[in-house]
Amino acid sequence: MTAFGTMLKKEFRELLPGAGIVLAATSIAFVYGFWRQPPIEQAVYSGWGLLESTLVTVTLLSCCASAAGLGFMQFFGETRGDLWAFLVHRPVGRGTLFAAKAAAGVAVYLLATTIPLLAATWWSAQPANITAPFDARFMLAHATNIAAGLVFYFAGALIARRQARWFGGRLLPLGLAIGAGGVAAGAPWFWGALALILATAAINALAAAGAFLSHGADRPQPWYTRAALGLSLLAGIAAVVTFSAGIVASLLQPRHDYRNTFVAFLADGTAVLQVHERYAGPRYTDLDGQPLDIVPGTAGREVHMAHLTVETQVLQQNYRECTSYYLMMSHEWRERMWFLQRATRRLLLYDLRSRHIVGALGENGFHARPEVATPIPVLVRHYWTTSLMHGEDRVFMIEPEARELRTLFTAPSGEVILAAGTFRVGDDPYGGVAVATERNVYMRQQEAGPFVALARPNFEVGTIQVGHVVDQATFVVRHAPPGFNWGLAQPQPQRVVQYVSAEGQTLRTVELPALRFYEKLTPTSSVEEAFSVLLPPLLPLVGLIGEQIGRGPGPVSTDVVWVLSLSLLGGVISAVLAYTRTHRASMSHTGRIGWTTFSFLSGIAGYLLLLAMHTVPARITCHACRKRRWVCRERCEHCGAPHPQPAALITEDQVAAPVPCPIGPNW
């Protein structure tokens, strides 16, 4: 057997108890997640089966914790006492030893987590177990969870092997791992998330390998393992700095006051502004900002509008959400549910009691065998599709009783349907139907009634809101700007509202004022902004440049100027500290300039990284010049004197030619 094989065998044997623990932890996570599954009626937002949000979160935490523990225990056990010497003193490269240990650890971890995942997948794929359809791609979320565990595994190995203070920089590699966990939990693209996670795992693996090669010291290591260690520590430092600053800021300034302003429509069709402030309920003003005496939330006060998003946008699919595979349709909620299977574009009828698929509705009608149903020409542009579906040329819905598709609207020749939706008319919450094409908005206020057309205005529109004022028998149509109301701190033009009669005539048009969706009420020189001094100057600078490029040259807000100035100040302070430190440590010119520049660009995190990665040697008093000198240098950096060589009292040379004892009585 080769040295690598021998090492592998030994590691597998040692990891058996750890594998059992990981297997048990992952299995418990799956069992707990399935046990906590909410009823399917509540699964619109939380998902179901393998993609139920609690299950996904619990398995992510379980994978990360067990992997970190496995990596730590595998490497920490051999760092104590002289077992380390027994391990590494053999005629093979330490890289080979590390590779064998890591290969065994990774294999054991993957095995111990994949087995429960496969078992859970098989179980949830059985029709009677989960009250919703299954898709094999539900596994992908757990695959990234398991991959994120690899970053934690190597972080655990690095923490175990690297020599640093426990209350100092020892736990910092967890920062990168937590970041990878965040990517696993938040990134919507599978391959992108997997690539990012594996890249961070490679960084921590390299850093752990470096620590293994150098017996835990920061030097001597190859440049690439030191670079990986730097990246890993930098992520940890950034996390600690951000977290600490956030805690301190929230303690010093618990209130973060802001204001959101929306356009709303009262029951009589009047356009008003609805203002939300923190610690206060919504209030209403007229379009000029004058307060209105309206009790918020009063039934029937506001018009329920259909939101038709017509701007061209790429639909973000998130592989960790059920909506990427199935859309729940709002028919027959109690005993049966319709699911639009996005991959096949069929409507599956699912029986909640027997937990089986009853059949599928396709363009060719309903069939008990789903594969017989032909795809429906439906365009999925939004996840909130409920009862209405549309293709390029028609709008249709399901007739639940008849189990067939009913066409509600057919677009005139040459027009492509962009969006369709329902709005409340009187007591019927879905009585009105609105359809937007590239040129027109079509509306109808009652079932089987005629659609009236309204030409779309000649400016860029993002969302069209359509409602109905029963008393006046008029439609209210608002043309909102692209981006609608989301995340806009700058004043946005809100465009116009049109009031349209039942016959399609525009009765009047109201211009809406420009609005700031989000307005910060806290003073500019707030505590929160004072912490910008901890930010890397590069971040706000890049943000500012990006904003200027994105929206074109324009005035820069005072907030941004403050943040940028304070972070630049932080960068300068860090650079000065780094230069002083490197100068005192007699670092090379290149090293000094490099660390100073890096500390300026990355702020306080850069300086902390310098402290974490460079162990400063001791200094002693030079016997020649009496100044403090570094013990690691052969000659004094001040006077050039070498260290005094203590003479031995008895040597072979002295026997050959006896000389008086050179050591005085006080040695």
């Binding site: 077992l83 380390w84 005629p91 052969e634 005094p644 031995a648 002295q654 040695w667």
Partner: protein, 306 residues
């Protein structure tokens, strides 16, 4: 002296602000049994760990079998047998499993030698390491260290905590190695009786500084003890750099000298009422005298007695 197997030049190690080893310059000749002696915390283990490439030197350097210790190559590790202080082994492994784990790494694994050593210590091949006594563990660790047939054996306090029988067995095994040509043993120890029994060279560390490095024979020649006799209470001896230690009794003073010249002996003889009498000194006494140089042991006890 043939080419040295270990050579250090100004080897220094600091732990934070504490100096663990100060400018060690040492040469270990091939084919000898070299004892590395010193009190606890004098820097013996630190030196050995640096020689093994397990610890980086703060300053200076060392070469073992011609290889730089800072980057000790795998082939060099194959030629060096290293027995660490605590005899740490994988506790869950049996003797046979430890052999099976160790053997594939070493191309010249000597199974007969391994079997001979474990038989010497009376070890069962099916015994788990965790169930072995301290002496048996030491024997097993030594067997694992010897079986690769190393050119140089470095042992860090191998007899620490062993009973006399186990110590004797360990020493016999070490002597077995020295019977082979050109094999060198470099070992640290507190047990000077053992050193006297097997070592032919000695290096003494005190407070991180090398105080002696020579053959045992030379050391014995350099450190000598004489008795000065007086008719009454002994006078205070004059300050002489050669005096390592003096111990006053009722009518005599025992003086231990290092590197004593004829002039020194003449001065002492003038003080004594009778001719100087040399007392045979064991290696242990000689080393203790050297290491307790600063303690002024005789004077301290004299003060207590008075």
């Amino acid at each position: 002296m043939t080419d040295p197997v270990i050579q250090t030049q100004g080897l220094t190690r600091y732990f934070g602000g504490k100096c663990a080893l100060d400018s060690l310059t040492l040469s270990v000749p091939r084919g000898c049994v070299f004892a590395f002696v010193g009190r606890n915390g004098s820097g013996k283990s630190t030196t050995i760990r640096m020689l093994m490439g397990l610890l980086q030197a703060t300053r200076g350097g060392a070469r073992v079998l011609g290889y730089d210790c800072a980057i000790l190559a795998p082939e060099a590790r194959g030629r060096i047998g290293y027995l660490a202080e605590g005899h740490d082994l994988y506790n869950w492994m049996t003797v046979a499993q430890l052999e099976a784990f160790q053997a594939p790494f070493f191309p010249h694994w000597n199974k007969a030698l391994f079997d001979a050593v474990i038989e010497h210590f009376g070890l069962s091949r099916s015994a788990k390491a965790r169930h072995l006594s301290r002496g048996e563990r030491a024997g097993l660790a030594l067997a694992l260290t010897l079986a690769p047939d190393p050119e140089l054996l470095i042992l860090d306090d191998p007899a620490l905590g062993l009973d006399p029988l186990a110590r004797r067995a360990l020493l016999e095994a070490m002597v077995y190695v020295t019977r082979r040509d050109d094999r060198t043993i470099f070992f640290s120890s507190h047990l000077l009786a053992d050193v006297e029994r097997v070592a032919d060279h000695i290096a003494i560390l005190d407070q991180s500084v090398l105080r002696a490095a020579c053959s045992v024979e030379t050391f014995r020649r350099c450190v000598r003890q004489f008795v000065l006799q007086f008719p009454g209470r002994p006078p205070t001896l004059p300050e002489m750099p050669e005096i390592l230690e003096s111990f006053s009794a009722e009518r005599e003073v025992r003086v231990t000298l290092a590197n004593a010249t004829q002039q020194t002996l003449s001065r002492l003889a003038e003080l004594s009422a009778a001719p100087l009498r040399e007392v045979p000194l064991s290696l242990e006494d000689a080393v203790i005298s050297l290491l307790s140089r600063r303690k002024q042991r005789g004077f301290f006890l004299q003060e207590v007695a008075s």
